[in-house]
Amino acid sequence: MESLNELIDFISVDTRLDIKTLALHHILSLTGNFESRKLLLSNRKCLKSLIDLAFSKDEQKAINKDAFFSLINLSADEIDAGQMMLQSSDLVQKLLDYILDENSPFSDTSCAILSNISRGKRNSQIIFENYFVDSNNNGGKSKPTVSLAKLLQVFCTEKFNKTNNLDYLAPFICNLTQLESVRNTILNDSIILQRLLPYTTYSRSIIRRGGIIGAIKNCCFNYDYHEKLLLSPDIDLLSRLLLPLAGPEEFELDEMEKLPDDLQFLPPNKERDVDPDVRIMLLETIMMLCSRKECRSYIKDKNAYLILRELHKWEKDEKALNSCEKLVQILIADEPEDGHENLHQVAVPEELSQKFYEFEKQELEKNFE
C-alpha cells in the first residue's frame, strides 16, 4: 500500500518525464486487475493525477494516451466507475468536450470511458441531469453545454472527427436510453430516428450497430410510440429490424410482395447479422412491438413470418433459435381473447409466473452446461 502511494506520487504533472512514463506504465498494468483497480480508486490522488495527465495539453501524446487507457480500465467496473465519476466532478464535462471537439485525438477513448461509467440507470441519470442542457437541469455543478440532439448529430455525422470514429458513443447513447426523458427526446424527433435507424445494418462496427439496436430496443419500452414507429413510412422500424435478419433466400413473387419494400428483391449475397446477440436483440424488439393488437396485425400483414421462417432454418445459436421460436409463436397463434389484446398488460397469475421463471432458469442452466 505504501509503495502504491509512492508510485501514485510519481504520476504528477511535475515529475520528470522518464520517471513519470515508467510510473504510468506501471499503473496502467495494475489497472488490468480487479483487486488493484479497487486499491487505486481508494487513493483519491490517483484519479485526479490520471485525469490531469490525460487532459494535459503540455504532456506528450504517449503520456495522455497511457493515462486515458488507465482511466478506461478503472471505469470497467460499474460501481467503482460511479464512485470515480462522483469524485471528479469535471471528468464527465471534459470527456464530453473532447467528444464534441472534431480535432480531438482522444474522442474515442473519451467515448469508451463515458460508455463505461454510464452503465447502470443511476449513473446515466447523474450524467444526464448534470451535464445535458435538455434535461430538467437543476443547476448542476458545472454549466452544461451539451444537448442530446447535438451529441446524436455528432454521432451520425460521418467522419466528424478525422482520426476517431466515435463508435463507442453508441453504447453510451444506449445507456442513456435507460432514462425515459432520453427515450422521449429520441422518439419525438423523427429526424433523429431517421438518422439512427440505418445503423441497424451498419456492418463496419459491431459496437455502433449493437449500441444503436440496444438503444432502439430500450425506446420500444415506450409502448405508446409503437404505432408511430411502425406505421410512419419515413421511419418504418419493422424493415430496419427485419433487414439484418434476412438472408439471400428467394421467395415466390406473391409471397415476397407482401414484405416491406426494403425486404424485397434482396441480392444473393445478402448476409444476416453475424452476431447472435444482435440477432437476439432484434428478435426481442420485434417481440415487444407485437404487444399491441394493431401493431401485431401490421407485423403479420407484412409477412415477417417469412423472414423468421428462413432465419429459423439457418440459425445455429440456441438462444437466438429460442427467441425466434417465441416470436413465431406469437405471429402464427390465434389472436388472444377480448380484453387481452395488449400482451404487455396481461396480468400473469402468480403461480404461472413462478412456473415460467423456473422454466427460464432451467433453460438458462441448460445453456451453461
Binding site: S190, I191, Q194, R195, D261, D262, Q264, F265
Partner: protein, 375 residues
C-alpha cells in the same frame, strides 16, 4: 434648375424671359420623307435589333448609357446584371435570367463572396425552373461554398437531388441545412419524403438487378445446355449471349429453355429455294421431328403451291454440312436434336435452318449440282 424652382423666386417678367430662353426650335422633327427611317432608329418602334457593328442610333445609345455606364466598377455591373436577371426571373423568363446571372458571374467579383453566393443561388433557382437539375445543383454547391450560412441554396440543392432521385444526397443536403437550423420544417419534411421515396426507388433498382441477373443466369444455362448436348454454334460464347439479348430474326425469337430446364426450344427456318419462300417456326422442341412440323405446315397447301407439289410425303429436308460444303439429306423421323448433332451442322445467328425441296424433282437435282459447284 427646375421650372418650379424658377417660379418660386421670379416675377412674371423674368418668367417670360425664362420661357423665351428654354424655347428652342424643334429641328430634329421627322419629315414626310424620312419618318420611316427615323422610326426604325427609335427603340420603341424599331423592327430589328441593331447589329453590333452598326453605330447605335442616338436614342438607343442614350438608353444604353442610362443602364450600362462605362465607368461602372465590375461589382456595380454585376449588381445591375443581377437585377436584370431578377426581373427576367419574376417574368418567368428563366433562360434569359440565366444569361444575365452568367454575365454577372463573369465580372471580376470573386472577392465579394456574398454577391457570388447570391448570383449562383439565383442562377440555381432559374435552372431549377428550367428543370436543369444538374446545372442547378452545381450552382447550389458554389452558392453554399461562398456563403456557408446561406440556407436558400441548401433548399434548392436538396430539391435538385430529390428531383434527380438521388435520395442519399438529398438527405445529406437536408442535414447540412438542419445544422444551420435544426427546426426547419421544410427540410425536415423533405428529408422524410426522401427517406420514404428512397425505399421505393431502391426496391425498383433491386428488382431490375434481380431480373437482369435471372436473365443472365438463364442465358448461361442455355449456353451450357447447348454445349452439353453437343450442338455447334458459329458464335463464341459472348456474341452468342449478345444474340440472345438482341435476336436478329424479324420475329425476335431466340432459343429458349423448356419449363424443366432440360430441353431447348429453337426458332427454326425452312427454306424453299425453288419458289423463293421460307417458313419460320418460332418454337421447335428439340425432341419433335421434322414430320411433326411438316405435316402441320403442309396440311393445307400454301398459297405459293397451287400444284400441290409440296406435301409431307413428297418433300426432302436437307441441311448444309459446313465442313464438307455439301447438302445432306435428313429423315422425316429425325428429331431436331439429332439433326443439330449431325456432322458439319453449325447453327448460325441462333437460328437453325433447313432446305426443303420436292423429292426427285429436276430442281432438286439442279440445285444440288449448283450447290456442289459453288462450294
Amino acid at each position: 434648375m427646375s421650372l418650379e424652382a424658377a417660379l418660386g423666386e421670379t416675377d412674371d417678367a423674368t418668367l417670360d424671359l425664362f420661357l423665351e430662353k428654354i424655347r428652342t426650335e424643334y429641328k430634329d422633327g421627322w419629315t414626310e420623307e424620312n419618318w420611316e427611317e427615323e422610326m426604325e432608329k427609335h427603340p420603341l418602334f424599331m423592327t430589328k435589333l441593331p447589329e453590333d457593328s452598326d453605330e447605335l442610333p442616338s436614342c438607343v445609345e442614350a438608353i444604353r448609357q442610362l443602364k450600362w455606364d462605362p465607368d461602372d466598377t465590375p461589382k456595380e455591373k454585376a449588381v445591375k446584371l443581377k437585377d436584370e436577371g431578377n426581373l427576367f426571373f419574376r417574368a418567368k423568363k428563366y433562360s434569359d435570367s440565366v444569361v444575365s446571372y452568367t454575365m454577372a458571374l463573369k465580372e471580376n467579383i470573386e472577392d465579394d463572396h456574398e454577391l457570388m453566393s447570391t448570383l449562383h443561388q439565383n442562377r440555381a433557382a432559374a435552372h431549377y425552373y428550367l428543370k436543369n437539375y444538374r446545372s442547378s445543383l452545381s450552382d447550389c454547391v458554389f452558392a453554399k461554398k461562398f456563403n456557408q450560412k446561406n440556407i436558400k441554396p441548401i433548399y434548392k440543392g436538396a430539391e435538385c437531388c430529390f428531383e434527380l432521385k438521388n435520395y442519399d444526397d438529398c438527405i445529406k443536403w437536408c442535414d447540412w441545412g438542419l445544422l444551420i437550423n435544426s427546426e426547419d420544417n421544410k427540410l425536415r419534411e423533405l428529408r422524410s419524403k426522401a427517406e420514404s421515396n428512397k425505399k421505393i426507388y431502391e426496391r425498383e433498382k433491386r428488382k431490375k438487378e434481380t431480373l437482369e441477373r435471372k436473365k443472365n443466369e438463364k442465358n448461361s444455362k442455355i449456353w451450357n445446355l447447348i454445349k452439353k448436348k453437343g450442338i455447334s454454334v458459329q458464335e463464341k460464347e459472348k456474341s452468342f449471349l449478345d444474340l440472345l439479348e438482341n435476336p436478329v430474326n424479324p420475329q425476335q425469337k431466340v432459343v429458349d429453355l423448356t419449363d424443366d430446364e432440360q430441353m431447348l426450344n429453337w426458332p427454326v427456318l425452312f427454306l424453299y429455294p425453288e419458289v423463293g419462300q421460307t417458313d419460320f417456326i418460332e418454337s421447335f422442341n428439340e425432341n419433335s421431328t421434322f414430320e411433326d412440323h411438316l405435316s402441320l405446315m403442309f396440311n393445307q397447301s400454301p398459297e405459293w403451291d397451287q400444284q400441290k407439289n409440296y406435301l409431307t410425303s413428297t418433300v426432302q429436308v436437307y441441311y448444309e454440312n459446313r465442313n464438307k460444303g455439301k447438302l445432306v439429306k435428313l429423315r422425316h423421323k429425325m428429331t431436331l436434336l439429332e439433326a443439330l448433332k449431325q456432322d458439319g451442322m453449325i447453327v448460325q445467328m441462333g437460328t437453325p435452318n433447313f432446305i426443303v425441296m420436292v423429292k426427285n424433282s429436276s430442281f432438286e437435282k439442279l440445285y444440288i449440282e449448283k450447290f456442289n459447284e459453288i462450294n
